[in-house]
C-alpha cells in the first residue's frame, strides 16, 4: 500500500507545527540511553529494587530477567507482535522465554507507528537488530567490567554473559544496574550477526499473541471500557450529499438507557455523511435508539450507479483520448502493421474490506486534551485528524492503539476516529462509537472498480513484440486530492508492469470519475493489474499454442528469483501431469515490491460451479524471520484473493452502496478453502513484504485454471460462469 497522499501529509505537518513532533514521521531516533520523554502510558513492570535497563526506546530489561519489547507497529494479525521482538532477541542473544511484548505508546523515539504496505519487517530489519545488538554490547561491557576481563573474551547465549576462560556466567537481569552506566554504542555501526549464526530468525517460533487470542483475553477496539463511557450508534446518510430532513428524537430518547441524541454535519474530507447519533449506556440501547429515530433524508440520492459506470468504462477502453503513463518502443506502429494481434478486456468491481471487527473508536475530549482508544493502522493520521476535530494541539492527543480485528488497509483512514471525537466533544463524556456490519460495508473506502484493455502483437514464433495496457477507472489520487490535475493514475499503476521481455510496451490511463470512496485494500492496484496482465499472458500463450507456464518461463526477463519461484511452483504442483475431465491448473506470478510469487491453482468445474481444490505457492520474500507466520500470511493472502475472485462485489444504485451484511457481501467460507501448499524459497536477500504479495496472483491463477478445465475464459470478476462467455 502506498502512504496516503496529501491529506495525510497536511495532518502530519499540522502535528509537527503544534508539537515539534515532525520527527514522528518515518524518522528513526537512534537508541538513547535514557528516555527523552516521560513514559506516560507504558505499564510498569512491577516495582524492581533496581531501576530497569532501558538501552533504547524499544527495550527494557528488568532485574528478574524479563525483557520487555515495546511493539511500535499495529498488530492486526500479520504477526509484528512476534516477528519484531524476534529481530531484537536474535541480536541480543536473549532467552526467548523471557520476552514480553507491550504495545509502545505513540512517541517519536519508537519510530514510525504507521502500519501498512507490507512494510514492517522490511523497515525494521536493521533498526530492530541494531537495538538488540547495542543492548548486548552494553551488557557484555558491564560483565567485563565487573570481572575485570576483556570484552572480547566474553560471549553471550540465552540471556547470559559467559566468560569461558574462567567459567563465570551472569544473567542479563543481574547486570541491569551496571549496564545502564555503559556508553551507548553508535547504532549505525554496531556489528550484527552473520545470518548463518542466527538461532531465532528463520525459526517457526510460536506467536506471542496466540495465548491471548484463544481465551478471549485479547482486547480489541470494541473491548475498550472507559469509566463513564456512553456507546454511540449512528444513523448515516446514504450519500455525502444527504441532508437530515427529520427524525424522531423523542422516540429515541424514550428507549431506556438512551442519554443523548446528536445530529452531526457531514465531514467531507473524512467522507463522513450527515449523521444522527444515539448515545446510550450500552450498545444495544444505542442500537434500539438508532432504529427509533426513523431518520428521513433529503437529497440522499445521486445518479451514480455501478452498472452504467461499468458500461462507461468499457466504452472509454476504446476512446481516442487517454493519458500516456509510460511507453517503450513503437507500440502503435507495430500493432498497426502486425498480422497477429489480440485484444482482451477485463473487468473488476469495487471491493470492501469487511474486517471481522467493524469500524469503531473510543474518544474522550476533556480539559484541552483528547484521549483516543482505536484499532488504527495509521496512528499518526489519526492524531492529526483527532487534533483538528477536537481543537487541541496534537501533543495533547493521547492515542492508545488496541489489537485490531483485521486491518487490510481499512484502518488506515481515520474516519471512525473523527466520528468518536465529534461525539465525545459534543457530549462531554467518553464515547465509543460502534459501527454495525451494514455501516461498515456501506461506508467503506473501496478497492477501485475498473476496466483494463490489453492489446498485443505476436511474432511468427508466438512471442509478444508489442503490448498495450490501458487502465480505465477512478483515481485514488484524485479522490484524496480533488485539486490534483496530473498523475491521476499514480495509485492505479502499481503492478501494471510485466516481468516479461517485450520490446514495445505502453501503459495508458483513462480517467473515469466516480463518487465512490476509494481506499487501500490488501494488494491495492496490483490486484487489478495482475489479474489483467496474468490473464492476458495466458491468453497469448494459448494463441501461441504454448504451455502457459512454459511460455512465461521463456519470457521472464532478467529475474532469476522470479524464474525460480515459477520452477518450484511448477514442480510442486505437478504441472503437466494429466487431470481428469473438468479439472485444470492455472498459473500466475508477480513481483510485488521485490517479493516473488508464483501460484498454481487447481480447480474442478462442475456445470457452472467452480471449486478450487489446491493452491501451490512458491514464495521468495528474502530472508524469513518466522516461517510459520510467513506461511500463515500466504495462506491468508490466497484466501483473501480467492474470496474476491469467487464472491465479492460492491455495487451501487442511486449513489448508494447496495450490499450491507454478509448475506449480500459474501466472503469465502470454511468449506471452500482449498489446500494451500506454501513453499518458502530460501534467500539471502534482505526481507521484503509478505502480507500483500500473495494476493494478486490467485485471481488470475483461478481463472486461468478454469480456462484449462473448460476452455471458458473468465474476464470479469467475481467469477460467474453462468453469465460469462
Amino acid at each position: 500500500m502506498s502512504a496516503p497522499t496529501d491529506v495525510t501529509r497536511r495532518d502530519f505537518v499540522a502535528t509537527g507545527a503544534g508539537a515539534g513532533a515532525a520527527l514522528l514521521v518515518g524518522f528513526w531516533l537512534p537508541g538513547v540511553a535514557r528516555p527523552l520523554e516521560r513514559l506516560t502510558s507504558t505499564p510498569s513492570g512491577g516495582s524492581p529494587s533496581v531501576a530497569p535497563f532501558e538501552p533504547n526506546a524499544w527495550l527494557r530489561i528488568d532485574q528478574d530477567g524479563t525483557i520487555t519489547f515495546h511493539c511500535y507497529k499495529s498488530e492486526m494479525g500479520q504477526g509484528v507482535w512476534t516477528a519484531l521482538p524476534m529481530l531484537v532477541a536474535e541480536e541480543l542473544d536473549a532467552d526467548w522465554r523471557h520476552i514480553k511484548v507491550e504495545r509502545a505508546p505513540i512517541r517519536s523515539r519508537f519510530g514510525d507507528p504507521n502500519t501498512g504496505g507490507s512494510d514492517s519487517i522490511k523497515s525494521a530489519w536493521l533498526p530492530m537488530r541494531r537495538a538488540g545488538a547495542a543492548a548486548r554490547l552494553m551488557l557484555v561491557g558491564a560483565a567485563a567490567k565487573r570481572w575485570a576481563v576483556k570484552e572480547s573474551e566474553c560471549t553471550t547465549k540465552d540471556g547470559e554473559v559467559l566468560h569461558s576462560a574462567s567459567g563465570r556466567r551472569v544473567a542479563y537481569g543481574d547486570l541491569v544496574a551496571e549496564a545502564a552506566t555503559m556508553p551507548v554504542p553508535d547504532m549505525e555501526k554496531v556489528p550484527l550477526k552473520d545470518p548463518k549464526n542466527f538461532r531465532l530468525i528463520g525459526r517457526a517460533t510460536s506467536r506471542l499473541d496466540a495465548p491471548l487470542k484463544v481465551n478471549g483475553a485479547a482486547k480489541y477496539g470494541l473491548d475498550v471500557r472507559v469509566p463513564g463511557m456512553l456507546v454511540a450508534a449512528v444513523e448515516r446518510g446514504p450519500t455525502l450529499t444527504a441532508k437530515i430532513a427529520r427524525y424522531d428524537e423523542s422516540a429515541a430518547r424514550a428507549v431506556p438507557g438512551v442519554r443523548r441524541v446528536i445530529a452531526l454535519e457531514p465531514h467531507t474530507r473524512a467522507k463522513l455523511p450527515a449523521r444522527v447519533a444515539v448515545l446510550a449506556d450500552d450498545t444495544y440501547a444505542a442500537m434500539r435508539g438508532r432504529r427509533a429515530l426513523a431518520v428521513q433524508w433529503a437529497d440522499a440520492e445521486n445518479d451514480f450507479a455501478s452498472e452504467p459506470y461499468r458500461a462507461k468504462c468499457l466504452s472509454l477502453a476504446g476512446a481516442q483520448e487517454f493519458t500516456p503513463v509510460s511507453a517503450k518502443g513503437d507500440v502503435a506502429g507495430i500493432l498497426q502493421s502486425a498480422t497477429r494481434t489480440f485484444e482482451a478486456t477485463y473487468e473488476q468491481p469495487y471491493l470492501a474490506h469487511a474486517t471481522m471487527e467493524p469500524a469503531n473508536c473510543t474518544a474522550h475530549v476533556h480539559d484541552g486534551r483528547c484521549e483516543i482508544w482505536a484499532p488504527t493502522q495509521y496512528p499518526m493520521w489519526a492524531i492529526g485528524a483527532a487534533a483538528n476535530q477536537a481543537g487541541v494541539e496534537p501533543r495533547n492527543v493521547d492515542i492508545n492503539v488496541t489489537f485490531m480485528g483485521g486491518g487490510f488497509g481499512r484502518r488506515i483512514n481515520p474516519d471512525f476516529v473523527i466520528e468518536a471525537v465529534q461525539l465525545s466533544k459534543a457530549a462531554g463524556v467518553p464515547v465509543q462509537v460502534v459501527w454495525t456490519r451494514e455501516d461498515d460495508v456501506r461506508h467503506d473506502f473501496y478497492r477501485p472498480a475498473g476496466v483494463q484493455r490489453l492489446t498485443a502483437a505476436l511474432d511468427s514464433s508466438g512471442r509478444p513484440i508489442a503490448w498495450r495496457h490501458r487502465l480505465v477507472g477512478p483515481s485514488t489520487r484524485a479522490f484524496y486530492n480533488p485539486e490534483a490535475r496530473d498523475k491521476l493514475y499514480e495509485d492505479e499503476i502499481y503492478g501494471a508492469g510485466v516481468p516479461y521481455a517485450i520490446p514495445n510496451h505502453s501503459l495508458e490511463f483513462v480517467y473515469a470519475p466516480s463518487p465512490i470512496a476509494l481506499g487501500w485494500w490488501r494488494g491495492v492496484a496490483h490486484t487489478q493489474n495482475t489479474f489483467a496482465t496474468e490473464s492476458f499472458i495466458d491468453e497469448l500463450a494459448h494463441h501461441a499454442k504454448a504451455d502457459p507456464l512454459d511460455y512465461r518461463r521463456r519470457l521472464i526477463d532478467d529475474s532469476p528469483r522470479l524464474a525460480r519461484v515459477l520452477e518450484i511452483a511448477a514442480e510442486r504442483s505437478g504441472w503437466g501431469k494429466p487431470l481428469p475431465r473438468g479439472r485444470g491448473r492455472g498459473v500466475a506470478i508477480n513481483d510485488y515490491g521485490g517479493t516473488m510469487v508464483a501460484e498454481v491453482a487447481e480447480v474442478t468445474v462442475t456445470g457452472d460451479e467452480v471449486r478450487v481444490d489446491r493452491v501451490t505457492v512458491a514464495f521468495d520474500c528474502g530472508q524469513v524471520v518466522n516461517p510459520s507466520i510467513v506461511a500463515a500470511q500466504v495462506e491468508g493472502g490466497v484466501a483473501w484473493g480467492l474470496s474476491a475472485a469467487l464472491h465479492e462485489e460492491i455495487t451501487a444504485e442511486r449513489g448508494r452502496v447496495r450490499q450491507g451484511n454478509f448475506h449480500e457481501y459474501q466472503l469465502l467460507r470454511f468449506a471452500e478453502m482449498p489446500v494451500v501448499d506454501v513453499h518458502i524459497v530460501p534467500s539471502a536477500e534482505a526481507p521484503t513484504g509478505v502480507g500483500e504479495p500473495p494476493v494478486p496472483p490467485i485471481m488470475p491463477a483461478v481463472t486461468n485454471a478454469i480456462f484449462a478445465a473448460t476452455g471458458r475464459r473468465v474476464r470479469r470478476l467475481p467469477v460467474r460462469l453462468s453469465s460469462s462467455g
Binding site: A210, V214, A217, D282, R437, G636, W640, L668, F670
Partner: protein, 156 residues
C-alpha cells in the same frame, strides 16, 4: 421495552441482569457482564463471531434474546479452558499458530468445541459442516482444520 430482571447461569455462576428481555445475549455478555471475549461481527447470525454454548449447543448470541437463555447453562470463551476438550483445542490452536487478527477465533473455538463434544473424531466433511458458519477474514481455515485434527489426536 422496560428492563426485566433476568437470572442467568454464565460459566457456572449465577448472574442477575436488568435488561429488556429481547436484548441479544451477545450484548448482555459484553456490556452487562464484561465478558468481551465473545465478539460482535454481523448481528444477524451470518459470521459466527458471537458463538457461545447454550446447554452445550453452539448458538449465535447476537440473535438469541437473553430471555431464551434464562435457566440454561451459558458457556463463553472465557470458560472454555474448564472443559478438557476446550483445553486441547486451545493448545492445538497455539501449536498450529491459528490466530492471526484473532477476532473470530473465540467463535471458531466455541464451534469446534461443540463439534468435538458431539463428534469426538470428526471427518473433514463433518468439520466443514460444523465450521462453515464461522467466517474468518484472515483466512485461517486451513490451520483451524489442522488444529481440530491435532486436538483429536491429543486425546488418543
Amino acid at each position: 421495552m422496560q428492563p426485566d430482571e433476568i437470572t442467568l447461569t454464565v460459566n457456572g455462576a449465577r448472574r442477575v441482569v436488568r435488561v429488556p428481555s429481547d436484548t441479544p445475549l451477545l450484548w448482555v455478555l459484553r456490556d452487562a457482564l464484561a465478558l468481551t471475549g465473545t465478539k460482535f461481527g454481523c448481528g444477524v447470525a451470518q459470521c459466527g463471531a458471537c458463538t457461545v454454548h447454550l446447554d452445550g449447543q453452539p448458538i449465535r448470541s447476537c440473535m438469541t434474546p437473553v430471555a431464551a437463555a434464562a435457566g440454561k447453562r451459558i458457556t463463553t470463551i472465557e470458560a472454555l479452558s474448564e472443559q478438557p476438550v476446550g483445553r486441547r483445542l486451545q493448545a492445538a490452536w497455539i501449536a498450529e499458530d491459528v490466530p492471526q487478527c484473532g477476532y473470530c477465533q473465540s467463535g471458531q473455538l466455541m464451534s469446534a468445541a461443540a463439534l468435538l463434544a458431539k463428534t469426538p473424531r470428526p471427518t473433514d466433511a463433518q468439520i466443514d459442516q460444523a465450521m462453515n458458519g464461522n467466517l474468518c477474514r484472515c483466512g485461517t481455515y486451513q490451520r483451524i482444520r489442522r488444529a481440530i485434527h491435532r486436538a483429536v489426536a491429543a486425546e488418543a
